[in-house]
């Protein structure tokens, strides 16, 4: 199969490496054989009498082992042809930056015009809403992880707080979406401070694990506090958003959106409205973080990320700096959460599992922590790619996880690894990825 073709390519280019490469690939195949024989080759199924029976699938094992062999060989051949990877030069970084200044406006224009581009249907708009939700969450988490350098693995908890805040306020007290939106943000920010306070002293991985624990605690409480949250059944009948009081209904009466503006009623109106709503919310997040970066608070965050001890020595109040980062990040998650609730009309704890936190963090890290445009592109690639592979069904998450590993191995610093100082004396020079400090938290 294709392994033979690769073997023919390798000796043609570098005869000296052909034999070791072949040996290496054979070893890989052997390891793959060991890995796949039990798990793939022997499938356990519940039999007719309730016991487990084995089904043998040696064909699949053979294909997988062949793929491992061919893949390893191709990889070695590629490495031999390409040589060692060159580190990014300052010139390349500058070029990328220049390209980046074009990418952002183009993407923005595309995002604004998307509903009017011919061929955009309901599906594309829904996908756009989904991607923009993750862009907003990514930008929100970026304040905590990318700017303040606090590694947060429980971010989805604040998303859940916002979603449940809107769902419960709207269904129990009948408050409108536009009152609930800021309320949900404030509530989530409050939770951000509440959960941020005990972990002020923790750093790095420890902080990550504690925030993960907090996220799971909130989810388990939502799952078990049946009298308030409905438990696993969730909250249903969440009011849909209105256009500043005008509902989107198909009746076309004067009190509805279509009737008021005298246009033909259509279900797409609501989707377009939701699309622009999340676009505006995401851009608000972006604007706030860009503006804050230039202010003393944002500069304190970035200083904190670079060196906490130096920060303390310079008299920066670590407590308020960290708590504001947690609170603001949580606030945007809460706002995104209440948007999520109104879009879905139904929420349950299932939507707020750890995997969501992991996806959002992955978007931030893959985007290159701290880079606004990088995060937007990463969200587009990850969530859009996830949707593109919809046909893969059960293999979708497998591909998703594999992509996460591959991108990380190929570009540990994320898509946009370089940074420009927010404030600088004299000229601003881009800092190459290898010199960018990491969030130690």
């Amino acid at each position: 199969m294709s392994g033979g073709a690769a073997a023919a390519v390798a000796p043609a280019q570098r005869p000296a490496v052909a034999v070791p490469a072949l040996k290496d690939a054979l070893l890989t195949a052997l390891v793959a054989f060991g890995l796949f024989v039990p798990i793939v080759g022997l499938r356990t199924d519940v039999g007719a009498n309730g016991g487990l029976v084995l089904r043998q699938r040696w064909g699949d094992v053979a294909v997988l082992v062949g793929l491992a062999f061919a893949g390893r060989l191709l990889m070695l051949a590629w490495r031999a042809v390409r040589g060692d990877a060159k580190p990014a030069t300052a010139a390349r970084t500058a070029l990328l930056r220049k390209a980046g200044t074009f990418v952002a406006p183009v993407l923005l224009a595309l995002a604004v015009l998307l509903p009017f581009i011919p061929g955009t249907g309901r599906y594309e708009l829904d996908l756009g809403i989904l991607v923009l939700t993750y862009v907003m969450l990514g930008w929100g988490l970026n304040i905590v992880v990318g700017l303040a350098g606090l590694l947060d693995l429980g971010y989805v908890a604040f998303y859940a707080v916002g979603a449940y805040a809107y769902a419960l306020l709207a269904t129990i007290f009948g408050l409108s979406f536009w009152i609930c939106l800021p309320l949900a943000g404030i509530l989530a920010a409050f939770w951000g401070v509440l959960l941020g306070f005990p972990v002020l002293r923790l750093r790095g991985d420890y902080l990550a694990i504690v925030t993960l624990a907090f996220g799971e605690i909130i989810r388990v409480v939502l799952l078990n506090w049946v009298s308030l949250t409905g438990g696993p059944n969730g909250v249903t009948g969440i009011p849909r958003p209105t256009f500043f009081g005008l509902p989107f209904s198909m009746s076309g009466e004067p009190g509805t959106f279509a009737g008021f503006f005298g246009i033909e009623p259509s279900p797409v109106h609501r989707v377009i409205f939701l699309y622009y709503l999340i676009l505006a919310l995401a851009l608000l997040t972006n604007w706030v973080s860009i503006r804050l970066r230039r202010q003393p608070l944002g500069r304190a965050w970035e200083a904190l990320r670079e060196d906490e001890i130096a920060c303390r020595a310079l008299g920066i109040n670590i407590t308020t700096t960290k708590l504001t980062a947690f609170a603001l990040g949580a606030m945007f998650a809460g706002i995104a959460g209440s948007f999520f609730a109104t879009r879905q009309g139904f929420i349950s704890p299932e939507s707020f599992t750890f995997i969501e936190s992991a996806i959002i963090l992955a978007i931030v890290v893959l985007g290159g922590m701290g880079s606004q445009i990088g995060i937007a592109i990463a969200a587009l690639v990850m969530i859009g790619g996830f949707e593109v592979f919809r046909d893969l069904d059960e293999y979708r998450m497998l591909v998703f996880g594999g992509a996460m590993v591959l991108i990380m191995v190929a570009r540990p610093r994320g898509l946009v690894g370089s940074r420009t100082p927010t404030v600088a004396l004299g000229t601003r020079r881009a800092i190459g990825a290898e010199h960018v400090a990491e969030g130690r938290g």
Partner: protein, 304 residues
């Protein structure tokens, strides 16, 4: 009283399983300073390999009883160790010495891959297994309540102690153990002194994975029901155990595992089953906030 005794027995056997997984976390954290997020899923793989080999042996009618369990353990340890090695080779080794968040993300990705790989290959339905070693001895009879110490629980405790004894010997008395401890103290210095650090780290993953495989096999035999998702919760709890015992400390991991097992069992028995995970997570948070170095860990000295 009798009820409490029963819970004590259950808690210890559960705690042994957590302890075995926790050792893997603590070893890896000690050597390369990262949370091996995929370790819980390695445990899950161990349970699945044990299930498959057990079904093959028993339904094939080749053997049953204790001999079968021994073979199952060995097979599961070997295959799972291979998985541990592969995970390290693919997802962590290329990122060594890189940006500190990168291995964490790649570990989360690997965890997603392993879970979904098993889901695709073995199906999403839970796998029930008939008890391999039923029965037990009656320890105490108080009124209508019988305290049972099942053979399975005895086996878990015996196997865990045996495995931990071998493991302790490996770490304290062999050249490999010395190399591992050297890498833990100072990886750069160790490599300057001629220790193959890459190989040592690989072997650390192999050992950690085979301990997790033992835990997986024990979990399967004790509870009889597994699915592809058991790794996440067990992983977080075992990590809690490692933190509680003091991360980096091997006896601490086992002690932490026992404590978490006991706390979880007693919490479910006397308070509420629904919130038992909250109990474990709260302990994690409380330990890290008030006692970050754990019970037996060394306090981290911060140098400027």
């Amino acid at each position: 009283m009798a009820y409490a005794l029963q819970q004590l027995i259950n808690g210890i056997s559960l705690g042994m399983i957590y302890g075995l997984i926790a050792v893997g976390y603590t070893m890896v954290y000690g050597i390369i300073g990262m949370i091996n997020f995929a370790h819980g899923d390695i445990f899950m793989i161990g349970a699945f390999v044990a299930l498959i080999s057990l079904v093959m042996l028993v339904s094939g009618g080749i053997m049953e009883g204790p001999a079968a369990i021994l073979i199952v353990l060995l097979v599961s340890m070997c295959v799972t160790a291979l998985y541990g090695w592969t995970v390290e080779r693919i997802a962590y080794r290329p990122l060594r010495g890189s940006f500190r968040l990168a291995p964490l993300i790649s570990a989360i990705g690997m965890s997603i891959v392993l879970q979904n790989y098993v889901q695709v290959a073995q199906g999403a339905r839970v796998k029930p297994l008939e008890p391999v070693l039923p029965g037990g001895i009656e320890v105490l009879r108080a009124d209508a309540f019988v305290v049972q110490f099942s053979y399975m629980q005895m086996l878990i405790i015996a196997v865990t102690l045996a495995v931990l004894a071998i493991f302790t010997w490996l770490v304290t008395r062999t050249p490999l153990g010395r190399a591992m401890r050297a890498c833990e103290q100072d990886r750069r210095m160790a490599s300057l002194l001629g220790i193959d650090t890459d190989r040592t780290i690989s072997l650390t993953f192999v050992i950690g994975a085979s301990l997790a495989a033992v835990a997986g096999a024990m979990y399967l035999l004790r509870y009889g029901v597994i699915d592809f998702y058991i790794g996440f919760l067990a992983g977080v709890k075992a990590f809690t155990a490692a933190v509680l015992g003091g991360i980096g400390s091997l006896p601490g991991a086992v002690l932490g595992g026992l404590l978490i097992g006991l706390i979880e069992t007693f919490w479910s028995a006397y308070f509420s089953v629904q919130y038992k995970d909250v109990a474990a997570f709260s302990i994690l948070a409380i330990t890290l906030i008030f006692m970050p170095s754990g019970l037996l860990g060394r306090a981290e000295v911060e140098k400027v």
